[in-house]
């Protein structure tokens, strides 16, 4: 049985004047999948999401959502999508439950249906006790959960999450991730953008790495790490002269690992055996101020592919 393709993009492009935000990307997302766009700010993730959300017309290429053209069948596409934009745009003048009610009405849902779903969704968002409160004084995490609950009012087939946990404290992020896992388990197709590699690793079955509007790699988090990085990474902070940078001392660890990346404040030695590499460093008479051996992450993949870090 063939998998049902919900989103298909071929050569998808978005330009603003002379600036090309999305530069001809090919993407396919199938039903039940958790798909991610990983990349730094300005990589073109949000522009892509807006096109997929049928709120911004593509400048070029072909885009199909549920087999429909989001430009000519925009309303029909949006009726089947849940949309969590990067910036919360909750209705702050009204209460938590009124937000769900009003939003459900925008979808043309009958009041009785909205009422039933409101109870479920408030429970899901852990906001039942705040249902009569205005939105404005809620915490950032609560607002985010309400935005997600709101976007589920129409039982969407795809939920779009643009930077779902940006700006939240670690605890609020974990609560949110837990909620998103539940949705994933229920079979909701998730499309997520993030510049957090841990979020991508946690939530995405498959992802594309974006940079400057292009896709530079694609695969599962695990396969991306296997393809583009080593098993382990040795992070070293070396004693330097006042004006020196770690890029000036790369030659000191030449040949210790498979390859080395220099950041301003440390060296990353890529190797399958971190402890062995550290011994080799000591054998060369180097005395690092700090040294850590860790597993490779998507951050390393991104660094390898673009020469830059995700969050700067």
């Amino acid at each position: 049985m063939s998998e049902r393709v919900l989103l298909q993009a071929r050569g998808l492009t978005k330009t603003f004047g002379d600036f090309t935000a999305v530069d001809g990307i090919d993407v396919e997302v199938t039903q039940g999948e958790s798909f991610g766009f990983l990349g730094p700010n300005g990589a073109g993730k949000s522009s892509t999401m807006k096109m997929v959300a049928a709120t911004s017309p593509p400048s070029g290429g072909d885009l199909r959502i549920f087999g429909l053209d989001p430009v000519t069948d925009g309303a029909a596409v949006r009726a089947r999508l849940g949309n969590c934009p990067q910036q919360d745009n909750l209705d702050e003048e009204i209460t938590v439950e009124e937000n769900l009610h009003v939003y459900g009405r925008y979808f043309g849902l009958p009041r009785t249906v909205i009422r039933e779903r409101t109870d479920e969704l408030l429970d899901f968002a852990q906001l039942t006790e705040r249902r009569k409160d205005k939105v404005e004084p809620l915490s950032g995490g609560m607002k985010r959960r309400l935005t997600i609950a709101r976007s589920l009012i129409n039982n969407p087939e795809i939920l779009l999450l643009d930077e779902p946990t940006t700006g939240l404290d670690p605890q609020a992020r974990h609560v949110l991730w837990d909620r998103l896992f539940r949705l994933k388990r229920q079979g909701v197709t998730l499309i997520i953008t993030t510049h957090y590699m841990d979020e991508a690793e946690q939530l995405c079955d498959r992802l594309v790495v974006m940079d400057h509007g292009r896709i530079v790699a694609e695969g599962s988090p695990r396969s991306l790490i296997e393809q583009h990085s080593t098993r382990e990474v040795l992070e070293l902070r070396l004693p330097l002269d006042e004006h020196a940078d770690h890029s000036d001392v790369v030659h000191l660890v030449d040949g210790v690992g498979s390859y080395v990346e220099a950041l301003p404040d440390r060296l990353l030695v890529y190797t399958d055996h971190g402890d062995g590499a550290l011994e080799a460093v000591h054998a060369r008479g180097l005395q690092p101020l700090t040294s850590i051996v860790r597993r490779s992450t998507l951050e390393d993949v991104f660094l390898r592919l673009t020469g830059r870090t995700l969050v700067d």
Binding site: R78, G108, V113
Partner: protein, 263 residues
């Protein structure tokens, strides 16, 4: 498996925009009152105060009426204008720029035209309520002259339509609250110089065509004809003017929302 939201085809989706405003305004009745107060103050201070110094006024229709009866229809028209303009400018600007209410709406099946029509319809409701309250005040102080005046409140809807559509269109060009001085700069002369406080015949010859080209003049002339019982087919010309302005305004506003929020 998930089931998509039920969408009734042909449903007037703009009504949900009105519904949102009703929900929001349930707790804000105080804000509702402000736009209504000004014309009432003018009716009492100028119409009745100055009116006691002026024995009567010759209308453009050729009849003699008390000054208060002459001014009251103009204040009703201004009341409808105020209600519509306040809502379609200040409130719409806040929703557009700060609260991002329309961004949220456009992520649903609603489109720019639903937003424009919905917001204008809401302004009409607000303008209509102001007109009704003002009409009741005018009735109470005895400055209503004709049974035709029963049509004065429905007629105010046309004034609201024109002003809220154009007001919302203008608002889509506003960059900050400072730009709202321009709105006041337009509204004040319209309020004072649309044959509101003096008959058109008292304006200098060169100014009369200018006055006749402006929207509030048509609203005032329409209301005055109805409230003073000077009724003729000519009143439909005023209605037509206001309706055309309203329809063009809604169309242009939809286009602007599309450009601003769907780039």
């Amino acid at each position: 498996m998930s089931v998509s939201g039920v969408l009734t085809p042909g449903l007037a989706m703009w009504r949900t925009v009105v519904e949102r405003n009703v929900v929001s305004f349930r707790r804000q009745w105080a804000a509702f009152v402000t736009g209504f107060a000004e014309p009432v103050f003018y009716l009492f201070s100028l119409g009745i105060g100055v009116g006691s110094l002026v024995p009567f006024v010759m209308t453009d229709g050729g009849s003699q009426v008390s000054y208060a009866a002459f001014v009251a229809p103009a204040m009703l028209a201004s009341s409808a204008m105020n209600g519509a303009v306040m809502d379609s400018t200040f409130n719409v600007f806040f929703k557009l720029k700060y609260a991002r209410i329309y961004d949220a709406m456009l992520a649903t099946p609603l489109g720019p035209r639903d937003i424009a029509v919905g917001e204008v319809a809401w302004s009409l409701i607000r303008g209509g309520v102001y007109a009704l309250v003002f009409y009741l005040v005018a009735l109470a102080v005895g400055v209503v002259e004709s049974w035709w005046s029963l049509l004065a409140v429905p007629a105010a809807i046309f004034i609201g339509l024109a002003f809220s559509a154009v007001g919302m269109f203008a608002t889509t060009f506003m960059r900050s609250w400072v730009d709202f001085d321009w709105i006041m700069l337009v509204i004040q002369p319209l309020f004072l110089l649309s044959a509101t406080f003096f008959p058109l015949a008292t304006y200098p010859g060169w100014a009369q065509p200018i006055v006749m080209a402006t929207p509030l003049y048509h609203g005032v002339a329409l209301e005055r004809g109805l409230m003073l019982g000077e009724v003729g087919w000519g009143l439909l010309w005023h209605v037509a003017y206001l309706v055309v302005l309203g329809v063009v305004g809604i169309w242009a506003t939809s286009r602007r929302i599309e450009t601003l929020l769907r780039s």
